[in-house]
Symmetry: C2
Subunit: 370 residues, 2 copies
C-alpha cells in the first residue's frame, strides 16, 4: 500500500518516472537526466534540487528505457567452464563485484565442457545485448565465440587470444608460481619430481607443463626427463596419476599437479595405500581452491588469484570500450604464487643424500630418518 496511485495513474514497480521528478524539482526532464548521468554541465543549485526530488520520490531510472535509447545494456557476460569447480564461484563473485561497482550486471554461464550449453548461453548473451564478455574457460574453444565475434562484442579471454578485432587476452604467468613450487621442493631435498598434467591439447595445460619442465631443468633436477603423466584435471585423473607415479621404478618423492582437483585425487590414493603425505610423498596443487585448506593434509599449492583475474578481466573490457584504434593493445599480466601448507616436506632419505643445502625456510625439515 505504498502510494500505489499517484496523480490518478497506476504506478508499477518503483513507479515514479523522470517527468515526475522534473516537476517536483521544477526543472525539465532533460536536466534530471543530466543529473542522474553525472553530466557536469548542470548548475550546482539545480542539481541539488534534483537530487532532493529524487530522494523524496524514491526515483530510480528505468534501466530498460535507458538501455533502449542509449544502446548500452549495462550487462556483461561471464563464461566459465564448470561451476562445481571451486575456482570459479570465487571468480564469479569477484567479477560481479567489480562489475557491480561500475553499474554493470553480469550474466554467468557454465559450459560444463558441453558445446551445446555454451552455444545456448552465448545466444542468450547476444540476445540480451551484452556489452562485453569475459571468457574464463581456460580452453581454446574459440569456435564458441564466433557469434560474439560476428556481433563485434568486446571479448576478454585467458591464455589464448580470440583472434577478433575487439578482443584482449589475459596472460597468466604460470611459470612464476610453478618455479616457486619446484624450488620449494628442491630446497626440501627432492630430486625426482613427477608432474601430473591436464589434458594436453589445451594451451593452458601445455604452458603449465612447460613451466614445470623448465623449472625442473633450471634447478638442475631430473635432467630433461622429468616424469609427466597426462591426466584430465579431474579427481579421477589425479588418482590415475598417483597410480602411475607409484609404479615408477625410482619412485618420485614429490608430485606437482596441474590443478588442485588432481592433487586431491592423488591425496586420496596415498591415503588408501597408507602412504603418508608429506612424510612419504610431497604433493603440490595448482589453483588454490577453497577446498585446498580443508583437505587432509592442507595442500601446498600455487595460487592464481581470482580477484586479480576478475579485476584484470573487467579492466580489459574497459580498455576495449575506450579504445579508438584496435592497435596498441597489450596483453594483461596476471601473476601466480606458491602457498605453502602441509602437503610438502623433505623426503625421508633426503638429508644424507643431499647435504649441500641443509637450510630450509621454516623448521619443517625433519631429523634424518626419524
Amino acid at each position: 500500500m505504498t502510494a500505489q496511485v499517484l496523480n490518478g495513474k497506476k504506478t508499477r514497480g518503483s513507479g515514479v518516472d523522470i517527468i515526475q521528478v522534473a516537476q517536483c524539482a521544477g526543472v525539465s526532464p532533460a536536466t534530471v537526466s543530466r543529473v542522474t548521468n553525472g553530466r557536469s554541465t548542470v548548475a550546482k543549485h539545480l542539481a541539488k534540487k534534483v537530487w532532493r526530488a529524487i530522494e523524496e520520490l524514491g526515483y530510480t531510472p528505468n534501466p530498460q528505457a535507458r538501455a533502449l535509447v542509449s544502446g548500452r545494456s549495462r550487462v556483461l557476460g561471464l563464461l566459465v567452464s564448470e561451476i562445481t569447480n571451486p575456482f570459479f564461484p570465487e571468480l564469479m563473485q569477484n567479477f560481479e563485484d567489480v562489475a557491480g561497482k561500475h553499474d554493470f550486471e553480469v550474466m554467468v554461464g557454465s559450459t560444463n565442457y558441453n558445446r551445446e550449453r555454451a552455444k545456448i548461453f552465448i545466444r542468450r548473451l547476444v540476445q540480451r545485448r551484452v556489452e562485453g564478455v569475459a571468457v574464463m574457460t581456460f580452453r581454446a574453444e574459440s569456435h564458441f565465440l564466433d557469434e560474439l565475434i560476428a556481433e563485434n562484442i568486446p571479448l576478454v579471454t585467458i591464455d589464448v587470444s580470440a583472434d577478433a578485432a575487439r578482443s584482449l587476452v589475459l596472460e597468466v604467468d604460470y611459470a612464476q608460481g610453478i618455479d616457486e613450487a619446484v624450488q620449494h621442493l628442491a630446497l626440501l631435498g627432492h630430486r625426482w619430481i613427477g608432474f601430473a598434467s591436464g589434458p594436453m591439447p589445451h594451451l593452458t595445460n601445455v604452458r603449465r607443463k612447460d613451466a614445470f619442465v623448465r623449472a625442473a631443468k633450471r634447478i638442475g633436477l631430473a635432467a630433461e626427463k622429468a616424469p609427466v603423466f597426462v591426466g584430465d584435471h579431474t579427481f579421477e585423473g589425479g588418482t590415475q596419476a598417483a597410480l602411475y607415479f607409484l609404479g615408477l621404478k625410482p619412485r618420485p618423492t614429490a608430485i606437482v599437479c596441474s590443478n588442485d582437483m588432481m592433487a586431491v585425487g592423488v591425496l586420496r590414493v596415498m591415503a588408501e595405500r597408507g602412504i603418508q603425505v608429506p612424510r612419504d610423498m610431497s604433493v603440490i596443487g595448482f589453483d588454490d581452491i577453497h577446498l585446498a585448506e580443508f583437505i587432509n593434509p592442507p595442500l601446498t599449492t600455487v595460487r592464481m588469484s581470482r580477484q586479480e583475474l576478475a579485476k584484470a578481466a573487467f579492466h580489459g573490457l574497459q580498455q576495449l570500450w575506450t579504445e579508438k584504434s584496435p592497435g596498441s593493445r597489450n596483453a594483461i599480466h596476471v601473476g601466480t604464487r606458491l602457498v605453502v601448507r602441509q602437503s610438502t616436506d623433505s623426503p625421508r632419505e633426503a638429508a644424507e643424500a643431499l647435504p649441500r643445502k641443509p637450510r630450509v625456510r621454516k623448521a619443517r625439515m625433519r631429523p634424518v630418518l626419524a
Copy 2:
C-alpha cells in the same frame, strides 16, 4: 563485416528491428510481434513467412524494448548466503537452467552473511525491475527483504515465510533424511550419537536439530539426552564440535553434523588425533556438497537436492505470478535423503553389545574387534 549497413542505416548489435522483419515478410509489425510472442491468432501461412524473414535477417527481439513496453523485465533475482559454500553454485546453476528455459535471466548475489552486501544487492534487484526473487539463504534475515516486499515483488524463501502478500515458502523436510541417518547408525549398532548443530537462533538449524533429537528418541537411543554441540556451520565449528564430543565421558561412537562443512572439520580433527573414521568414529554430514565424495573418507551425508530446490523455487515464483487471490497458497515440499558413503560403520564394540540386528546392507560390517 556482417551487413553492418542496411538500407543506408547503421545497424548496431543484432541491428535488425521488427519493422524490417515486417517489410521482409510483407506483413505489419504487429503481426511479427504476435508471432514472436507465440500468439495463436496468426494465420499459419503468415506465421511461416514471418519465421522465414526472422531467420533470414537474423532478427532477435530487443529485450529492453520489450521490457519497457510490457513492463516485464524477464529478470529474476537469486540470493544465496555464501558462494564459496559448494552447496550454492550447484543451486545457482540449476536455478539459472530452469529460469533460462523459460526465457528468464537471473541476477545472483551472495550476501556472505554481510548485511551491507545484501542491501546493496537487493537495491540492484529492484532497480533492474526483477520480476521475482528466490531467497535461498537459509536464514530469517527478512529485514533484508523489506525493500522487495515494499515493491510487491514475488518472493520465494526457504523454511521461513517472508510475511508478504506475494510470497511463498519452500518447506524442506529435514526430518526425512535425518531420520534415515539416525536409523542407519542405529542399524550399524550405534547407541550414543552426538549432534553438531548450526547456530541456534536460525530456524533451519533448530529444525535440523529437532529432527535429530526426535529421530534419536524414536529409535529409542540416547533417551532424551542426546548430546548436542552448537557450532556455526563452518569448518572451525566442526573442529570445535569434534573436540567437544571427544571430551565426553562416554564418548559418542558417531557424530551427525548439521552441514557438510562441519563434518569436514570433524574429519580433520579425527585425522589429526589418529582416530580412524569410520572404525573408531562414524560421521554423517548434511547437504551432500560436491566435496563430500572427495574428502577422506567419502562422507555419508544427507542430500538436499539442489535441482529439486531450484525447480521448486522457480515454480513457486510461477505460482505467484499466475495467482489471482493470495489466498489458497500452500508451501512447497522439498525432500531430503541419506547418501551412504564410507564415513559410517559399526562401532568397534558393537557386535557383541548388540547382537540383535547383525544384518547390514553391504559387507561393510567389520569382524569383531578386528
